[in-house]
Symmetry: C2
Subunit: 244 residues, 2 copies
């Protein structure tokens, strides 16, 4: 985790619980710089510490400011989350595109902030006008209200995802290795001959098609070594023999 | 919203609050089919209803099942969220790639389910083996625990994002239109001549560069019609004239 990661700025948060849940969501995704503008119940806040589930202990002490202007002095580019359109000329990003943009700025050593307004009212127009851009989280228009910590969670998750190199899909095969084609072929050949012996293929004309269909089941199943051996055992058991 | 959207299945949830927060997160992103396997405190649950902030009233009544097997009978493909690796051969997706995969299956009329284990213990290996694939949410390895409703929120958000057509970036210019180049040019020409009159360009050799730099500020600013007029007003005010 780097201190160059974006800053999360909460303006006038009302509920300590929300500050704590926001801190937890931040740390889940590697963000550790929390700034709070005029928290209603002051700071430190016991409820925030409880809800943070230990996150606040693993982050630098949050900085407290009197105004958003004071909180962003050292930042180069700030994104304000806002649920509704205002009569203001401002670029509006999705969470994903904002974080792609932020990651590119960050790579060029710009200091980035994500700004969140108070729970009930959202950001004031004056505070919004201090920010470089806006983010609106697309939601179900018939049920769109996200709470403060949920919004922080989604933005922090998108920040993390913009950098994460986890493969889209891996086959977790534990200690076993994906089977080599030779062993798969051996098992399939054995299956075929045992099926032949058991008179499974009643219609010789259909046999090639049936064999191909069976083969397709096993080729797409991405068997491991161990599973291929298990299948040998299954064949043996079904024909009433001991494992070879 | 369509009933063909994925189903969310919570296994043995302990806290009503988490069920309610999960329902709220679902509806935020257009998911309405909630199934609960053996909720610890039975159903209906007052705390769930409170935390749902009205979401449960706008969704069909959650279905209650005794086992995961019973809950998924009508589904074609299920993704189990799991935080840790098991010794099981199973494809593991990221939330984003899982939802891309799910969206493609959904478009081919497959019925999809996302499965979440109990808060403390996570999914049992037996329940995981009932599911087609796994999802692991990449997080800060030093602080990785997400609560149940947060996990549902992230998966539901990724589902919504996989379909959402919101442009990555729009310039919200309210009622005003982006300025036409002709009017921008008119303003820049006027600025140049007023700067000339005010002896801003002390070094004739540098003047072309300075003009280009000034022009770059305004061409990248994506001014609206109204803002261009405002700038005319600013020039007039600074030279001590009334607006033209």
């Amino acid at each position: 985790m780097s201190n160059d990661n974006p800053v999360i700025i909460l303006i006038n948060p009302q509920m300590g619980e929300n500050i704590g849940a926001a801190a937890r969501a931040m740390l889940n995704f590697g963000l550790i710089d929390l700034r709070i503008v005029a928290p209603r119940d002051g700071w430190p806040n016991e409820r925030a510490i409880d809800m943070a589930a230990g996150a606040l202990d693993q982050m630098p002490e949050p900085q407290i400011f009197e105004s958003l202007k004071d909180a962003i002095t050292d930042l180069n580019y700030t994104y304000a989350t806002t649920a509704r359109r205002r009569d203001m000329v401002k670029p509006i990003f999705t969470p994903r595109s904002a974080n792609k943009d932020a990651a590119e700025r960050n790579a060029q050593t710009q200091a980035i902030g994500f700004v969140f307004g108070p729970e009930r009212t959202g950001l004031s127009n004056d505070d919004l006008s201090l920010c470089s851009a806006a983010i609106t989280i697309p939601t179900n228009p018939e049920f769109s209200s996200l709470n403060l910590a949920q919004s922080v969670l989604l933005i922090a998750h998108e920040w993390y995802s913009a950098h994460d190199r986890t493969p889209d899909k891996v086959m977790d095969s534990g200690d076993s290795r994906p089977v080599e084609q030779e062993k798969l072929e051996e098992m399939l050949t054995r299956l075929e001959s045992e099926l032949e012996a058991a008179r499974f293929f009643r219609d010789e004309g259909l046999k090639p098609t049936m064999l191909r269909n069976i083969r397709n089941i096993f080729t797409r199943a991405e068997l491991t070594d161990q599973e291929t051996r298990t299948f040998h055992g299954i064949i043996s058991a079904l024909i009433g023999k001991k494992s070879p």
